[in-house]
Point group: C2
DNA sequence: CGAGCGTCTGAACGATCGTTCAATATATTC
DNA sequence: GAATATATTGAACGATCGTTCAGACGCTCG
């Protein structure tokens, strides 16, 4: 199928041009927004010819769609349960993951933002974003349910929704500059929400 | 200066074309993102000729800059203190304002989102967004300080920062669909944060 | 070797972009 | 009413856009 990726490659990596094109598109989308993503700019950034971009990706739309799906993968991985831990620690680890330095990169946060912005403009992209968000929230609710089996499912959903809001605010605000103290406070708040005591009616002071 | 806006206007309002151009740009930005904002599209949407857009706005950049400043104005107005209320109620009113139906419009939320997305791509727009956010947070901190005069200033800043995160998450998440119950819960959470009891060291269970 | 196939290139096409500008329309001033 | 200033138009410019395509390259198989 592919022309043998073996053999000493000249520079660092000239194989798998399709992947390099996708990464170039992601880089441009993050740094310059959708206006900076032209087929020619992507080709230049990936070090390939213009024609090859249209060879591997039928459309500009297909290219961007592939880029958005890549972002979605990274997102979902955040709530992927760590099987080495017990349920409660597994949930805590997932909640802490949004404060990881590798997650709070400007490049990654900006990519997420551009995904949201594109979702407003293009119905096709909106579906990708909505489904990603739905999957993420479902993963979160499952983690909460596992850590607090006594909770009714809809209460887990409520808590997942509230945490989702705060986490969305966290990464969005992080784009203006990292305030690690504020991040820790909000991560702690998410843990409180997720692991709050009894499922009983909320207390009213 | 302007050619007498009196006289019976033909349709509904054909005067103040500059304002209509700006509103057309905002409408397009909200509905289609930055890719949908071309000088020609703006002219068509505003019902004026192409040349007039470049007459009232030197650049495309100037036009978008004006649009972003308009969004900023709407944002800041949210924390504008209501002089008819006492400090604590004034703060509560400001915090509740983000749940107002007129604020949770898709058009307005999408505009905000596009502002953030543009800020990532263009240094000039980034400055506008950063300053708007700074002014908003300062207004929030001032409201908290007025409602809780015994708090040290930096504690007010911390609370404003935390509330800002949650509110950013609120409007961003609202773009996926309005979950009024979740919104109320988060508004309540913001009130708790802002009006929390003593400024003493936080309790540790 | 030559036919076949997947990969890759760069020129070319028509469409659209932002910007400029001469010309016209409208309002203000004397 | 002429003169002037302001507002408005639409054609035209060069640049860039997404897409297409004929051809070249490298590899495998008979």
């Amino acid at each position: 199928m592919s022309p043998r990726p073996v053999r000493a490659m000249d520079a660092d990596e000239k194989v798998d041009r399709q992947a390099r094109i996708l990464e170039a598109a992601l880089r441009l989308l993050s740094l310059q927004g959708i206006s900076g993503v032209s087929m020619r700019a992507v080709a230049r950034e990936a070090g390939v010819s213009l024609g090859l971009v249209n060879y591997h990706y039928e459309d500009k739309t297909s290219l961007i769609r592939a880029a958005l799906r890549r972002i979605e993968e990274l997102d979902i991985a955040l709530v992927e349960p760590d099987p080495a831990l017990e349920p409660e620690e597994r949930l805590r680890a997932a909640l802490k993951r949004v404060a990881d330095p590798e997650f709070l990169t400007t490049e990654y946060l900006s990519l997420r933002l551009q995904l949201w912005a594109l979702a407003q403009a293009h119905e096709d992209f909106e579906r990708i974003n909505t489904e990603a968000q739905k999957r993420y929230r479902a993963g979160l609710a499952a983690l909460i349910q596992a850590a607090r089996p006594e909770l009714p499912a809809d209460e887990c959903g409520r808590r997942a929704a509230d945490i989702d809001v705060i986490q969305n605010g966290l990464w969005l605000t992080a784009l203006l500059g990292l305030d690690h103290a504020s991040i820790s406070r909000n991560v702690a708040r998410c843990e409180e929400i997720a692991l709050a005591g009894p499922p009983a009616a909320q207390r009213q002071d």
